[in-house]
Structures are given as C-alpha cells and as structure tokens.
Symmetry: C2
Subunit: 185 residues, 2 copies
C-alpha cells in the first residue's frame, strides 16, 4: 500500500470516529451539545487539527444530516414497496434513532443551512420511496407529502413520549393509522 | 390596599416578568438556553432570590408548558367547533408561537417531568376540543388522536421549514390535509 493509501485510510477512519462521537453527543444533549473541541479532546486530536477533516461544526452537522437521510432511505429501500411495510420501516428507524430523526425533521439545528441543495434532494428521494406509486417526477406529489405528514405526526408524537403521557398504546395507534392510510390510497 | 395585597401584586408581577424573559430565552435558544441566573441578571434580582418565586428551573419550565396548553386550548375554544376552524386555529397558534409549540410536543425539555399529572390533564382537555364529537369520556378516542397526529405532522413539518425546503406551499398542503380530515370524519 502506498503512503497515500495509508493516509487516505487514516483520514476516512478518523472522519468516521468523529461522526460516531458527534452522534453520541447528539443523543446525549441534542444539537446544542455538538462541539468540535470536545470531540477532539475525546479522540486525542486538537480542535484545529480536526478542521482538516471537517470544514467546521456546520459542515459536520450537514454531513450527519445527509448520513441520516441515506440511512433512512436505505431502511425504506430494504422492504417491500407496500405502504404498511414502508410505514413500519419508517417508524422502526425513527424509534431506533430518535436523535437522528430529530436532526432530520425537528427544530433546525443551529448552523444547519436549510437551503443546502443536497438536503432538498435527499428529502425528495425519501418521499419518492414513501409513495411507491409516484412515477419519476420532478415534483413531489401532494399525496406523498400527506403520507409523510401523517407518518411524521405519529412518529414524532411517539418518540417524544406523548402517547405514553396519555396512557395510549403506540402500537395500537400506529395500526389504526396505517389502516387509515391504506384506505386513503 | 393592605401590605399583603401589595406584596401579592408584586409577586404576581415579578412571576409574570420572569416568564416573559424565559419565553424570550426559549425563542432565542431553545429549552437549553433557559437559565434562572440569566433571568435574575436581566431583572436585577439575584438567582437565589428568584427561587422564592419559582421552586427552580424545572418548576418554571413546567409552568411555561401549562401556560402554553392553556393558551392553545383557549385559542381552540374561541372558534366554532368545526374541524376546519379548529384545525386553522391549531395551525395559527403553532406558527405564531413555534418555540412554545415545541415545548408542548417537541423533544422533551431537559428537566420536564413527563409524569406530572397536570400535563396529562392539559393534553386531554386539548384533545377533547380537537374532536368535538367526543362526549365527555374518561379516555381519549382513537379518532381524536388520529386528528391530532395529522395536525401535529403538518404543523411541525411547517414550523421547522420542511415544506419550504421542498418548494411546497404550506397553505396548499394544509387545505388538502383539512379536506382529507373532513372526509375521514
């Protein structure tokens, strides 16, 4: 292996480690807890040195958002393109990774750029999957947005503990919601 | 007016001022930005002295949540008990007060007690209003929860800028959602 190869491998590995620590910070304290300096300290690398791997806190945050879109999109791609399966996959991903789900659709993280084109592309890919009947089209259909809004409403109420506060069984609410979505197709 | 009366009035006024500053902190930096010491500094009162008015940061937060429930419930009570009016009132309140809406249904604020009985009562009152056909009943019906989930999905995607990111007109999405909710009654 050439020196360049080793350097590239090291670079990729360090970037991965930085993202893992960043995700733990998010899980523990939300986007406000994300700190390049704290990540550097944990990995034994100075903050300034880390900037050779990420242009800054905002770039790291954007990359975590894009990773999360890619991961959720992959989870949806892995199941049958039927609404109940897609809905269940969407829910499973969100409940398994609530902090990443919030990063996608919750209050905008400070520093995130809502006009970054890559984010718009990522959400469009996701919506195209969520509404399988959509032909490849430039615009996301109204129906896909409605399905997404309903899934998002359920999932975000669930991950923030709102059903529990009401003494409701989330599985039961979810089953009713999916039934209703199916009949609305 | 007795001395007790003046003291009570001062107490009520100071509590009101504390809550106003706290709401501004929330609007500017989210629940993580809420700081009793910073509030005291702004009002020229020592942090410890403020604890005579609020048992602590968590108690203040809980009171802000209860105020927000009361305010949203009042907004819903002020309109006709028809789904389109209720939905429009719910949306207006959320878009006018996104930081308070997040406080109600977003990621739990650190320190908030999800098992506080008063919170469960407040959300039940709200849901009873949202689904006008509900007779006074001990349990919240499935349908009320579904209406709520759909409104929440729409509203939370809107206030976090997700429709804008997709180039969608939120008014248009909302009108379609309300139509669909009406036909689902």
């Amino acid at each position: 292996m050439t020196t360049g190869g080793i350097r590239d491998r090291f670079r990729a590995q360090l970037r991965q480690e930085v993202k893992q620590v960043a995700l733990r910070q998010l899980a523990e304290g939300g986007p406000g807890a994300l700190s390049i300096n704290a990540i550097g300290k944990e990995l034994g690398v100075s903050g300034p040195a880390l900037y050779r791997y990420f242009a800054g806190r905002d770039a790291l945050l954007t990359e975590l958002v894009l990773d999360a879109y890619a991961d959720l999109t992959e989870a949806l791609s892995a199941v049958a393109r039927r609404l109940p399966d897609l809905a269940a996959a969407y829910r499973s991903w969100a409940t398994a990774h609530p902090h990443r789900y919030r990063l996608l659709f919750g209050a905008p993280a400070p520093g995130a750029d809502p006009d970054d084109e890559r984010l718009g592309d990522a959400v469009r890919r996701l919506l195209t999957l969520l509404w399988p009947r959509v032909e490849p089209a430039p615009a996301v259909t109204e129906h896909a947005v409605s399905v997404w809004g309903r899934l998002h409403g359920f999932v975000s109420l669930e991950i923030e503990g709102n059903f529990r506060a009401l003494g409701l069984d989330p599985d039961h609410v979810f089953a009713a919601e999916v039934d209703s979505l199916r009949s609305a197709r």
